[in-house]
C-alpha cells in the first residue's frame, strides 16, 4: 500500500484529529468505574501486610455479621478451581520445563507478597466492605521473606515450597552458540564488562484497575466489565483455566481504559472473584483498586540484574555480546512474565549490529514481591539498555567516538533480510540514515559551544547518542508455538458495510490511548475511497468483535490493522461482483476509484453506497452466485515480527552541587515504516520517551528486606511531572517499510520507552566524564542523590 504523507482527505498519512477526544474532553468517557448497575454491590479485598507467611486461620465470622455485608470469600472457596496460568512455557538449558507454581484466585495456605489477597468482602457499600475487611481476623505466621534475587537463587527461604527452588528457569539463548561465544570472547583483543541493574518500575496507568461482574440468573450469562487491553484473552483465561465458565456464557467488556502500558494485559484474581461473587449473590459486584492497591498488586516491570560483556577487535569491530541476567518474576508467574525476559529480550541482544556471536543466559527468580511482567517495551528496553550502555563504555575505553563505533558495526541497508546472531531476521531498516538525521536534529556540531556555556553557569553538560532496534507485532503463531507460547498471536477484524453505505469495523485490538478509533478508519476509507467519518471502529467487547488478541507489544496496527486490510480486500472483491452485475460487466473489468465502481475504459459506474444498498436489498440480484450482505472477516497471522529502529539523542546538564540532572534537549529519529496518522505516532513516541526518562532519572521501586514496598504511593514513587520533561524533537519520515505486512507498517508504541533510557544515562556519564569525574556507570534511576553519591565517592 503506498504511503502518502501529503494526504489531506483523512486517509493514510493524514494527521486527522482524534474523534475519541470529544468524549474524553467533555467528561463523557465511560471507564469501568464510571459504570453503575442496578443493585450493584462492592468488593474489598483483605491483603497481606507481610511478604511471606503461613495462613494459620482466617476468622470471618465477625466480618460476615457486620452491617451491609453480603458475603465473605477466602482462598478455601477457590481451592477447587484452577489457577491463573503462565502464557508461555520456557525450557531451561538442560531441557527441563520451567517451574509453574499455582497462582490461585485468593491466597490459600500461604501469602507470598505484601498485598497478596487472602479474603474478600462483598457489601452493599464500599465503606461497609472496608469496615468488614478490617474485622477479618487472620492469623498469619510471618516467615523470612526473600526479596533480593541473589539471595533467592541461593535457596534458603522459598517463595513456593512445592517447587523446592526459587529459580523458575535457567534459559540459554542460543544454547548451541554458547561455546563459540565463550571462545570468541576468550580470544578477543578487547572485552568490556558492565554490571548493571534495569530498575523495577510500576506501570502506573492513571486509571487504577477495576472490574464489575454482572451475572444474569435468567440467562446464566456473565458480563465482566474490566480494565483490559485484551478482553478475549481475559475471557479465554477465565473460561479455560480459572473458573471454567463456558466462553459462550461469558462476555468481557473493556470499555474506555485509562492507559495500560502492559499492566492491563493480564488476568488478575480480582476479575475471577467478582464473577464468582456475582454468581453467588445474583447481583452485580464491583471492585476498583485504590492507587495503593495498584502499587502493591499491578504487575510491575523490568527488574533485571545483568552482567554484559562486549568483545571487539582493536579497531572496534564487534565480536561478541554475552550476558548473564537475573530476572525477577515476583511471587507468582503473571501471564507473560516468562516470555518477557527471554524471547522478548534475548532475541534482541544483537542490537542493530553485525556481531557474529551472541549468547544470553537468563535466570528467572521468584521473590516475595509483586509479580513482574511486561511493561511498555517488555524485555526490549532491557536488551537495548545493556547493549547501548556497554557500547558507550567500549567507545570510551577504545578512545573512539561512540557514534562512529556504532556506525562501523551497523547492519547496512544492502544486508536485508539480515539474520541476526540472536536468531531474528530483520526485514528492513537504515540505521545510518536515522543516525545522520539524529546528529542534525540534536545539532551535535554545536554541542561544544553549549557545553562551554553550561560550564560558565557551573553545570556539567553531556551528550548521549545511541541506536535501538526492537521486534514487535510478535508472531507468527506457528513459530511462537514452537518456542513455548500457549496462545496464538494473530489478530482479527470484521468489516460490516451497512445498507446505507456506512461501516462498522469490529477489531480485536483495544484502544486505550492509541487512537484506533481515528487511525483505523483512515485505512479503510483510503481503500474504499469513502469518508472516514462514515466508519465506526468497534472494540473491547467480546460479544461484538471477532476473537482478537488485543493491544500490547506495539502490535495493533501491524497485526490487527493488517487483518482489517485483508477483510476490506474481501469486501472489495465481493462489492466488485455486485457492481459488475449492476453494470452488466465482468467483475474483472470493475475498478474502484474514489468510492466509485467503474467499468474500465467507460463512464459506466455505480457508487459504493449503491452497491451496499444492493447487497442488503438484493432485488435483481444474482442470488445463485453471490450471497446477500456485505460483511467480511479476516484473521491475520504475520510472517515475522516488525523491526522498528531508530537513533536517540539526549543532552543533559548536571548540577554538581546537588547531583540533579536536567534534560536540555531530546531528539528521536525513528523508523516505523509507513505512517498512518503522523500526529498520533508522534504522540506515542512522546509518551514512550516520557516513560523512558522516568525510568532513567526518577522512577524507583524499592522493597525493604522484609518485603515492604517503600515506594508504595506517589509520595515515594516519583512519577514524571511536566516540569521534569523537555520538549522532544521527533522525526519518523523516510521509514523503510515493513516487507511482510500489507501496510508496510512497524510498531511505534514502545519505541520511546526502549530507545531512551540508555540515551539519558549515556548523556549523564558523558557529562560527568567531561567534568573530570572518573565515573563509568551509575545504576538507574539517576536521582540527584545517586549522582551526587557517585560524584563524591572515594577515588572519583
Amino acid at each position: 500500500m503506498p504511503k502518502d504523507n501529503t494526504q489531506t482527505d483523512g486517509g493514510i498519512g493524514a494527521s486527522t484529529l482524534r474523534r475519541e477526544d470529544i468524549r474524553f474532553l467533555t467528561g463523557e468517557g465511560m471507564y469501568t468505574d464510571d459504570i453503575q448497575l442496578q443493585g450493584q454491590t462492592h468488593a474489598v479485598f483483605a491483603r497481606s501486610d507481610v511478604a511471606n507467611g503461613v495462613i494459620k486461620s482466617i476468622d470471618t465470622s465477625v466480618a460476615a455479621a457486620m452491617p451491609g455485608v453480603l458475603a465473605v470469600f477466602t482462598g478455601a472457596d477457590f481451592a477447587e478451581v484452577g489457577g491463573n496460568p503462565a502464557g508461555w512455557l520456557i525450557n531451561s538449558r538442560d531441557g527441563e520445563p520451567m517451574k509453574e507454581p499455582k497462582r490461585p484466585v485468593l491466597a490459600h495456605g500461604k501469602v507470598r507478597h505484601v498485598g497478596d489477597a487472602y479474603a474478600a468482602v462483598i457489601a452493599e457499600t464500599r465503606a461497609q466492605a472496608m469496615d468488614a475487611v478490617a474485622a477479618i481476623e487472620a492469623d498469619i505466621q510471618e516467615l523470612p521473606a526473600v526479596i533480593n534475587m541473589a539471595d533467592a537463587v541461593k535457596g534458603g527461604s522459598l517463595v513456593h515450597d512445592e517447587i523446592e527452588t526459587n529459580v523458575c528457569f535457567d534459559w540459554g539463548w542460543i544454547e548451541d552458540n554458547r561455546a563459540a561465544t565463550d571462545a570468541a570472547i576468550k580470544a578477543a583483543p578487547h572485552v568490556t564488562t558492565l554490571e548493571l541493574v534495569n530498575n523495577r518500575l510500576v506501570p502506573n496507568a492513571m486509571e487504577p484497575r477495576a472490574s464489575t461482574a454482572d451475572y444474569n440468573k435468567g440467562t446464566g450469562e456473565y458480563t465482566l466489565y474490566t480494565t483490559s487491553q485484551n478482553p478475549h484473552l481475559t475471557r479465554l483465561l477465565i473460561s479455560a483455566f480459572v473458573l471454567g465458565i463456558p466462553e459462550n456464557k461469558l462476555r468481557v467488556i473493556a470499555p474506555d481504559v485509562g492507559g495500560g502500558f502492559g499492566s492491563k494485559i493480564y488476568h488478575y484474581g480480582e476479575e475471577a472473584l467478582v464473577l464468582a461473587a456475582s454468581k453467588k449473590l445474583k447481583r452485580p459486584v464491583r471492585w476498583t483498586a485504590s492507587r495503593s492497591e495498584s502499587f502493591l498488586t499491578d504487575a510491575h516491570g523490568r527488574d533485571h540484574v545483568t552482567k554484559i560483556e562486549l568483545a571487539c577487535e582493536k579497531d572496534g569491530t564487534f565480536i561478541a555480546f554475552r550476558t548473564e541476567t537475573m530476572a525477577n518474576v515476583g511471587a507468582y508467574l503473571s501471564n507473560f512474565s516468562t516470555v518477557t525476559p527471554t524471547f522478548l529480550h534475548g532475541t534482541l541482544m544483537a542490537g542493530n549490529y553485525t556481531v557474529p556471536n551472541v549468547y544470553v543466559n537468563v535466570k528467572a527468580v521468584f521473590t516475595n514481591t509483586a509479580p513482574v511482567d511486561a511493561y511498555r517495551g517488555a524485555g526490549r528496553p532491557e536488551a537495548t539498555y545493556s547493549i547501548e550502555r556497554v557500547i558507550d563504555m567500549t567507545a570510551r575505553e577504545l578512545g573512539m567516538d561512540p557514534v562512529e563505533l556504532r556506525r562501523m558495526n551497523f547492519v547496512k541497508p544492502d544486508q536485508y533480510p539480515y539474520a541476526s546472531a540472536a536468531g531474528l531476521e530483520y526485514d528492513s531498516g537504515n540505521y545510518d540514515r536515522q543516525m545522520d538525521k539524529l546528529e542534525a536534529m540534536i545539532d551535535r556540531d554545536g554541542f561544544e559551544a553549549r557545553r562551554i556555556e553550561s560550564a560558565k553557569n557551573g553545570k556539567l553538560r553531556g551528550l548521549g547518542l545511541n541506536a535501538y532496534i526492537e521486534a514487535c507485532g510478535i508472531a507468527p503463531s506457528n513459530l511462537v508455538g514452537i518456542l513455548g507460547a500457549r496462545v496464538g498471536l494473530y489478530d482479527a477484524a470484521t468489516v460490516r458495510v451497512n445498507a446505507t453505505g456506512s461501516l462498522a469495523v469490529m477489531v480485536g485490538a483495544h484502544s486505550h490511548g492509541q487512537g484506533h478509533e481515528t487511525a483505523f478508519p483512515q485505512i479503510v476509507a483510503d481503500m474504499l475511497g469513502i469518508d472516514p467519518e462514515s466508519i465506526e471502529i468497534v472494540h473491547g467487547d467480546t460479544a461484538k468483535i471477532p476473537f482478537g488478541m488485543g493491544t500490547y507489544g506495539s502490535r495493533s496496527l501491524a497485526v490487527c490493522g493488517s487483518a482489517m486490510v485483508r477483510a476490506t480486500e474481501k469486501i472489495i472483491v465481493k462489492a466488485k461482483k455486485i457492481a459488475a452485475h449492476m453494470l452488466e460487466a465482468s467483475d474483472a473489468d470493475i475498478e474502484l476509484v474514489d468510492g466509485q465502481f467503474t467499468v474500465a475504459g467507460t463512464d459506466k459506474s455505480v457508487s459504493f453506497g449503491e452497491v451496499a444498498l444492493k447487497a442488503y436489498i438484493p432485488h435483481q440480484y444474482p442470488i445463485e452466485d453471490i450471497e446477500p450482505g456485505l460483511e467480511e472477516t479476516a484473521f491475520y497471522d504475520p510472517a515475522n515480527f516488525t523491526y522498528p529502529s531508530g537513533a536517540y539523542a539526549c543532552e543533559v546538564e548536571v548540577d554538581p552541587e546537588t547531583g540533579k540532572v536536567t534534560i536540555e534537549k531530546f531528539a528521536a529519529a525513528d523508523d516505523f515504516g509507513n505512517i498512518i496518522n503522523p500526529m498520533i505516532v508522534t504522540g506515542q513516541v512522546h509518551g514512550g520517551i516520557g516513560q523512558g526518562i522516568g525510568q532513567a532519572l526518577i522512577e524507583q521501586t524499592s522493597y525493604d528486606s522484609d518485603g515492604q514496598l517503600l515506594s508504595a504511593s506517589y509520595m515515594d514513587y516519583a512519577m514524571p511531572r511536566a516540569d521534569d520533561m523537555p520538549f522532544y524533537q521527533v522525526n519518523h519520515d523516510d521509514g523503510t517499510p515493513c516487507t511482510h505486512n500489507p501496510l508496510g507498517v512497524k510498531g511505534c508504541g514502545e519505541a520511546g520507552a526502549i530507545g531512551s533510557p540508555p540515551t539519558v544515562v549515556n548523556a549523564v556519564i558523558d557529562a560527568l566524564q567531561r567534568g573530570g569525574k572518573n565515573i563509568t556507570h551509575i545504576d538507574m534511576p539517576l536521582t540527584p542523590s545517586r549522582v551526587w553519591d557517585a560524584m563524591n565517592a572515594k577515588g572519583v
Binding site: 468517557g29 468505574d33 492513571m206 481504559v257 485509562g258 516513560q691 516540569d723
Partner: protein, 161 residues
C-alpha cells in the same frame, strides 16, 4: 447523614452525605458526574480537579460537606453552551494533548484556573503549574503545547506535530 446543597455547573443540587463522603464521591456517585476521575489516594495525580468557588481543588481531598453552599464546576460544565468544545478543550484536541483521556478532565480544569490567573503563561510557568496533574501517556509535550495554544500564543516553534 447530613444534607448538603450546592450549585454544580450552574444547577442547584442537594443530597444526603456521610461525614466521610468526599466531594469526588458525591459528584461521581450521587450526581453521576463521572468525568471527575480518581487516580490516586494521596492528593497528587490531579485527575479529580474541579473548581470550587472558582478555584481549582482536588475533589478527592475535600469533603462533600465542606462544599455545602459552594459553586462547583466540573469537566461536564466546560463546553460551550452549544455543546462545542471550549477554547481549552479544542486546543487539547488540536494538539493531541490527550491519549487515554483519564487525566484529561483534571488537566482541562487546571488549565482553566491557570489561564484565569495568568492569561499568557510561559512554558516554564505552565510546567510548574501542572505539578499536581500527572499524565502517564503524553510525556506532557502536547499538553504544554495545547495550553500555549489555548492562551493564544504561537506554538509553531515547538517541535513538530
Amino acid at each position: 447523614m447530613a444534607q448538603v446543597s450546592m450549585t454544580v455547573n450552574g444547577k442547584a443540587v442537594s443530597g444526603d452525605v456521610e461525614g466521610r463522603t468526599l466531594l469526588s464521591e458525591f459528584l461521581r456517585i450521587d450526581l453521576n458526574l463521572t468525568g471527575t476521575h480518581i487516580g490516586c489516594d494521596t492528593s497528587q495525580c490531579g485527575a479529580c480537579v474541579v473548581h470550587v468557588n472558582g478555584e481549582a481543588v482536588k475533589a478527592c481531598t475535600m469533603f462533600a460537606a465542606e462544599a455545602d453552599g459552594a459553586d462547583v464546576g466540573t469537566i461536564e460544565g466546560q463546553a460551550n453552551e452549544d455543546g462545542t468544545l471550549n477554547v481549552i478543550q479544542q486546543a487539547f484536541q488540536d494538539h493531541h494533548g490527550l491519549q487515554c483521556g483519564f487525566c484529561t478532565p483534571g488537566m482541562v480544569m487546571s488549565t482553566a484556573s491557570l489561564l484565569k490567573e495568568n492569561p499568557k503563561p510561559s512554558v516554564q510557568e505552565i510546567r510548574t503549574y501542572l505539578d499536581g496533574n500527572i499524565c502517564r501517556c503524553t510525556g506532557y509535550h502536547n499538553i504544554v503545547k495545547a495550553i500555549m495554544a489555548a492562551s493564544g500564543q504561537d506554538v509553531s516553534a515547538i517541535a513538530a506535530e
